[in-house]
């Protein structure tokens, strides 16, 4: 039963400065791939790599500056869940690529 009246969320200790840095970083990380794609600055593969790299960095920025993954009290269930999620995510992606290597249709 969540405590609606007292506010179940304690202050996460995010300062104005950290929110501002996070906000700016996330905007920059969004603009970079946009610029690269709109101006055809790189080859197809390089563009894909840039987009993926920016996406991963964006994910980290969100986690650290907005989700406060560092501030969690012990036991760090959120962190544990996140690590397991990343492991499973990598399994899904890498596993699919591996399994589908010899299963590509001509189309």
């Amino acid at each position: 039963m969540a405590n609606h009246d007292t506010g179940a969320h304690k202050s996460h200790g995010g300062s104005f400065k950290s929110y501002l840095i996070g906000f700016l970083l996330s905007i920059v990380l969004t603009i970079i791939p946009l610029v690269v794609v709109l101006n055809d600055m790189m080859s197809r593969n390089a563009t894909l790599i840039v987009i993926l790299a920016m996406a991963v960095l964006q994910f980290l920025v969100q986690l650290f500056f907005f989700m406060h993954i560092r501030d969690e009290e012990k036991p760090r269930y959120n962190l544990m869940t996140l690590i397991l999620a990343v492991v499973i995510l990598l399994t899904i992606v890498a596993g699919s690529i591996w399994i589908m290597t010899y299963n590509m249709t001509a189309g």
Binding site: H4, T81, L84, I92, M100, M104, T105
Partner: protein
Amino acid sequence: MLDNLKEFASEFFVTGDPLILGAQVSIALTMIAIVIVLTYFKKWRWLWTEWLTTVDHKKIGIMYIIASLLMLFRGGVDALLMRTQLAMPELNFLEAEHYNQIFTTHGVIMILFMAMPLMFGLFNIIVPLQIGARDVAYPFLNSMSFWLFFWGAMLFNMSFVIGGSPDAGWLAYPPLSELSHSPGVGQNFYIWGIQISGIGSLATGINFIVTILKMRAPGMRLMKMPMFSWSVLSSCISIIFAFPILTVTLFLLFLDRFLGAHFFTLDGGGNPMMYINLIWMWGHPEVYIVVLPAFGIFSEVVAAFSRKKLFGYASMVFAMIAISVAAFFTWAHHFFTMGSGANVNAFFAVTTMIIAIPTGVKVFNWLFTMFRGKIQFTTPMMWAIAFIPCFVVGGMTGVLLSVAPADFQFHNSYFLIAHFHQVLIGGVVFGYFAGLYYWWPKMFGFKLNEHLGKWAFWFWNIGFYVCFMPQYLLGLMGMTRRINVYDFDMGWQPLNVVSTIGAFLMGIAFLFQVWQIAHSIKFHKKDTTGDSWGVGRTLEWSIPSPAPVYNFATIPVADERDWWWEEKERREQGIQPKAIPLEPIHMPKNSAIPFIKSLCWFTAGFGFVFNWLWIAIPGLIGVAICMLVRSFQYDTDYYIQVDEIKRTEAALRGAN
């Protein structure tokens, strides 16, 4: 006008099959009967306030169990129809198309609408009681989960009288499930029925993880927690990672069918094999999701009726968590024959064999728990004992299947059918029955009749082996799954007849269980102790049965494994528990939103099934309105005052 209407109706309703016509008539009659009974006894208000809008985890659990038993009936009838068709060669009892629909709905219903809700029902009723909580972490979300499941299941079940059932197998492999090969609405029913109930399952997974991590009684550290709660935690971990994969996969299939995308089509760059790869990433963890709680139930039942502590607690915990994580690394063994190459097959064969190790650890733990225990052969214990040999044999045929080169022979044969029915019936169904019998007195305050229960037990068990052992042989003789006719000269008839007899024995067993429940409702002896088996070890047995709405008047400090067992021993020695003063109890208020919102989802799903946006869009708007209304509700909780708790407790304990 009338002709138009006739034409519409003949397309809208499934026509031309006497079996389905019978079902349509009986559904209509049942619905009329329900309305008449509710109106005659003036029960509409009671139904609405006590059940449809409840957020009480115990009532939600009971609704889950009722729904799942109805689904067991539906799925069981499907099974009997199939077995009847296969009893004789070249029989024309079911048309090929109808047969396809029946094996598809049998699979979907048994896994998603029977096993899952039965499991969630037991989660709901037992977990909060077992860890000393007053409800789950998010009671409103819990009610939402149930109603999403319920309306999703209704949407799926409707398909056989309206529009036509899906017929592309229980996992709906493309290209068969694509618009090109299944232009009808059946596949749409499949997608939307599963999507809607799938959101509910995901929410339940989140709910129980938070409940278990955050709401345990003071002193109950994780390693002091009862084993069933551990199994629920491990199962929910798998749920939260597996169900999003299902949702995304089915959504992509929906895009293919609805918007003409090409994710899994044969043309336009699509790849149907990717669907098979993705769906098994959910499908494999799913089987562990349903079997892990069954392992938890066996751990509770075996310890209780052997009157011993569970052997190897820590190894059991380790095994469960190991299974729930390792479950994500074995999915390709479902399609060894797809042609992914030797390396892929070797890797997934090994991971599959590895997963047998923690399972073996658990089997030995149960055996050592029983070793030199004072075993009582009650119905829950009988199911637990019957489970062990059945599951071990099923598991070993699984290891046979995991050998990739051998799998090329077994794949898609009745050998496989026999294997997974043996682990799913022998593991999951036996487990949930054990749990249902064991905790029935906790839910309703009386035990089920043991005599009839034993009849049901023997019919189920004998029926099971008579039905499925011949199927192993049929598989080795070359009989493949999903065929509806076979020739005289195949030599499959004798074993098929035996198998059909076994299926009907299990059907009789189910009737015994229905009789058992009806008989026990009429002639039961009320349990007054709360610990009705007398061997309870964990917290749920320390409170009256059925539990009051707030579960625990005061929450005990449960700092030992098997706290209630230790507490009983202390009380026998004359050490009385320290009285904890009563305090007002904070409880969630009932809400109609989960019911209404899920009904809106059902409406939207129904609209998408027929591609009628004039129904789908209002349905989605309804969903959005429900969300908005809920966001502005602040008055969602209340307190039960001390004198009311005293009155309730006096009434419940006074019966002692």
